[in-house]
Point group: C2
Amino acid sequence: MSSTLRLGIAGLGTVGSGVIKIVQQNAALLTARSGCSIEITAVSARSRSKDRGVDLSGYAWEDDPTVLAQRDDVDVYVELMGGEDGPAKASVEAALAAGKHVVTANKALLAHHGQALAVAAETKGVNLRFEAAVAGGIPVIKTLTEGLAANKITRIMGVMNGTCNYILTRMENAGLPYDVVFEEANQLGYLESDPNLDVGGIDAAHKLVLLSSIAYGTQVDFPSAQLQGIGEISIDDIHAASDMGYRIKLLGLSQMTGNGLEQTMQPCLVPYNSPLGQLEGGTNMVVIEGDSVGQIVLRGAGAGEGPTASAVMGDVMDIARGFTLPVFGIPATQLVNTPSAQSKAPFAYYIRTSLRDAPGVLANIARALGDAGISIDRLRQQNHDGDSAPILIVTHPCTPAEVEKAIKAIKATGDATSDPIALKIVEV
Amino acid sequence: MSSTLRLGIAGLGTVGSGVIKIVQQNAALLTARSGCSIEITAVSARSRSKDRGVDLSGYAWEDDPTVLAQRDDVDVYVELMGGEDGPAKASVEAALAAGKHVVTANKALLAHHGQALAVAAETKGVNLRFEAAVAGGIPVIKTLTEGLAANKITRIMGVMNGTCNYILTRMENAGLPYDVVFEEANQLGYLESDPNLDVGGIDAAHKLVLLSSIAYGTQVDFPSAQLQGIGEISIDDIHAASDMGYRIKLLGLSQMTGNGLEQTMQPCLVPYNSPLGQLEGGTNMVVIEGDSVGQIVLRGAGAGEGPTASAVMGDVMDIARGFTLPVFGIPATQLVNTPSAQSKAPFAYYIRTSLRDAPGVLANIARALGDAGISIDRLRQQNHDGDSAPILIVTHPCTPAEVEKAIKAIKATGDATSDPIALKIVEV
């Protein structure tokens, strides 16, 4: 390694500008800590003329990121454009083929093509690093891959989409319905251009499947992650959860079971006073459980210029220090293609629906639950809302299959005036 | 690096046994993740015959850890005996001189001799790593040195002594006085043989000064850390703090100011609902603030067999993966010998004392505060306790010097029937 490490950066949005600021402002610190002079040689973005608040005059400009990625004067290709295919994928592949290290914040790219890219990187003996792709500034990839490397990882949980957490906490704190807060978040620019990436849980699930791969030595498997977005969560659910000492969070859960890998991303109730329950606004949290270490909780900003750029530059610093590591912690050729498992672990569930106001209706619902093997811990029928009555049920622990059966049976009674929703209660 | 990494372990207490269990039980995992077979070749401890619940029959025995440290068949010397001098220091020095990597959990050794040991390690081009020395299983050294390497660190805070946190939370939850809970902790084996290491804040300060060194690129400076133990905290303080929405924690605080490095370890009031305030029992928490990343919070078990062994083995895994890093993140010869600074940052303070039951007494105290430049935010005189009345004061933000002046003046009135205590209120 020369005593200079040269970066080529593609994508000059928020994160790209943040990376340039760190390189310019903390140059002496970066050199002291890495033993390398870290320099930017070339950049690329859609618009050359846009003012980004950083001085680009010292850097070569490339219109085509794939050309940038292969430049002779680039040692590390920093991909910050995003997108699971298109220029991001093409340029990262080109960089790896040219023997360049790659640092990226692109969770979609890795969730869909991580295995092939890891093989490509390791074949060439270069690093492909993605700390910034998961939970913004929190060094969770490093913690899992390195700090906890001696642990058999038993479970990972995480709140990893700041926008969803903003929406849910804002609904609770302001007492506003989902649609209103969704629109607020949109106005504030918090939502992806396809909002379903956020509120549908897709973005957060991209992150979860990357963590799973490292934790269990398995090939990244996004398609079989079970997703449920936050769009069905009503302000009534949030109030009801709060009354019972819980808060609703879009929670990722990943564990290896005897049947295979379980990966779920869904709104869950968590205890109000738990670390996860205390999480406000855009903050992210990841909980990692290992056989020796017990439970480790990491918390920090999940997005934003500074935090995400900090993570990108953490990866760059590792490369400058000469660290080399397989992309997912063990060589990609050894990653196992594990079957995915439908979650079978029993949890207590929160079930909400509305019922016709008629004799015998409650009995029908109770029977639907009983027939599915579910026993009721708590039940509350609320004030009538016109000619239907909202009903909240907390079950004793039961399996997702039992809940699914019960939901079908409740619908079949014809007594439910709204589609029942069921949320796991996760005691952490 | 050969494809086998051979460990010599000195000290077979809780942590040493934990390390052996990981090496024996997770052997395949360690090899998959590091590309190395990790083996133990030799061990040393005070008593050879003691049953430690692990099979030592495959390992050579050395009575003298310094001999162990220099064995030809040892690549990494794992020092788990503890103690700032004596065999720990001698054997670590011998290992480094012999060109062995060293992994240790010994905070006292590094807090007192870190600079010389770092120079010795770096002269020989070997690693001296100490993740397990700070906050047990939490990978805080790695996070600070590597994950946040691109950040100018602005502040570090931490609850890093599980025993103190156990005592304080137990006092609150059971409503018991300090002496009773101290004795309980003693019976449970939670206290060091010199309890002042725990309750005097020394152990926690050892950890804090190691973090400071990495954060600010300064030579480890334990002697100038300002320490205040938890022995003066009464159950009344805990109740009063709770009434005002705070909890008392033994909190370490480290920041670089224009005047030099401030390092304090003292009981402080923190908001009940903050991450630090929510910390129960033996759990540790470290808060790191950086110019780009903002605030990162790390939480986990601060002690115990599994968590501490996890941290030791994380260091071993890094060595097995061929990572090399200066001991404190930048070369020891570049670490600055920064002047220490008395803390000047203004905080609100909680002040408790008791006053003689006589006319004019309260006025005297109020004047003492006013003369010191301190204005009162809240004041509460409690029920009389015999012929003296406990009094609680919360100040507006003021400097430690002003508080010290006020405390002296309060004592000088002759009206205080108990020594006033003053605790910072840290809003985090």
